[in-house]
């Protein structure tokens, strides 16, 4: 059937895109394994739709498509949450970056040229608490 071919191609292409490295993350490997499992399950479901119905019956859901919908809702909520966390982390980084720029700029402006010690302090400070190991990362 044509629909099966189209769906499998779509799953493989999208899965490939989602498995690409988006940011250095310790969770990346786990995400990739999950993605692989998902691709496998998706392709199997397309080839053997009865399998999904069998699973649905096993957990007390009428049809395979219903089970799919429930799964989708849960995955969507997880997605919303992880994006929210990521957004917060990004906002935090933006704030720190903006603040650093503002303070360095102000130190350069408001001080006489012979007294540039404060600007130096700021830069040193940045290195001190900006180490990769201690940086909090988003979800």
């Amino acid at each position: 059937m044509w629909i099966q071919l189209l769906l499998i191609i779509a799953i493989l292409v999208l899965g490939g895109f989602l498995m690409r490295r988006t940011g250095a993350d310790s969770h990346l490997a786990i995400r990739r394994i999950m993605m692989l499992l998902f691709i496998l399950a998706a392709v199997l479901s397309v080839l053997f739709p009865q399998w999904l119905s069998w699973l649905a019956n096993l957990v007390g859901v009428g049809r395979g498509t219903d089970l799919l919908l429930y799964g989708l809702i849960v995955v969507f909520l997880v997605f919303v949450y992880s994006q929210y966390r990521r957004n917060l982390a990004l906002q935090r980084q933006l704030t720190r970056l903006t603040r650093r720029i503002a303070l360095i700029e102000a130190a350069g402006e408001t001080r006489a040229p012979e007294d540039s010690s404060a600007a130096g302090d700021l830069v040193e400070d940045d290195v001190a608490d900006g180490g990769y190991g201690r940086q909090d990362r988003g979800a």
């Binding site: 700029e105 102000a106 700021l122």
Partner: protein, 219 residues
């Protein structure tokens, strides 16, 4: 030496007089321009304040934190006065609060509009403020009579422990929490808030207080 820290966002029409009123009492005033789209920063600079400019708008909490860090970078800074840009605080109150911090050896002095009856907010504002006070007290374990009052005096050692992560308005509760955790001596001081037509128009809406609440609960 005392530094006055003013978070500034689009207050071009009043910031000049606010700074000129402050300067005789506090010779060091820093305005943190939070990415204003009007000429606030330029006016503040001409009025005689130091200006630190955020390239993008982050929110009042972020601006306050930047101002505190700027003041702490000045070695001679002993006390920080946080002051609103819209002209609703009285300079006399700020001066009295710094004097009290010095004589009573206090690390933090919070301004409170509810310690006397000089300030008369409207009924709705009063209900919202009292709810904010209640929430602040419950979540911080402090006993304050006012919350979200921008006038505070913070000694250097206390200010160094402030690290506001709430960029927007919820910082007013967060700063109480962080200052409370320092365990340093604090007090409330009666202040009057001048509800001018301007500050009323700019003031926070009822809906925004819902945002503050959600910001504080959902982190």
């Amino acid at each position: 030496m005392t530094w006055a820290v003013i978070p500034l966002y689009n207050e071009a029409s009043v910031i000049d007089s606010v700074i000129r009123d402050l300067l005789p009492a506090f010779s060091h005033v820093v305005c943190v321009d939070d990415g204003s789209s009007d000429s606030s920063a330029e006016i503040a600079r001409r009025a005689g304040a130091f200006v630190v400019q955020h390239p993008v708008n982050l929110g009042q909490g972020a601006a306050l934190q930047t101002g505190i860090e700027f003041a702490l970078a000045q070695p001679a800074c002993e006390y920080i006065v946080t002051f609103d840009a819209d002209g609703q605080h009285r300079v006399e109150d700020a001066v009295a609060m710094v004097a009290r911090a010095r004589t009573d050896h206090l690390a933090i002095v919070f301004g409170s509009r509810f310690l006397d009856d000089r300030t008369r907010p409207g009924l709705i504002k009063k209900v919202i403020l009292k709810t904010a006070v209640w929430f602040t007290n419950v979540s911080t374990g402090m006993r304050l009579s006012d919350a979200h009052n921008g006038l505070r005096v913070i000694r250097r050692d206390a200010a160094a422990k402030v690290d506001l992560k709430q960029d927007r308005m919820a910082h007013a509760t967060e700063i109480v929490l962080e200052l409370g955790r320092t365990g340093l001596p604090w007090a409330e001081h009666p202040v009057e808030l001048l509800y001018t037509d301007y500050s009323k128009a700019k003031g926070q809406s009822v809906l925004n207080s819902i945002n503050i609440l959600v910001d504080l609960i959902v982190r």
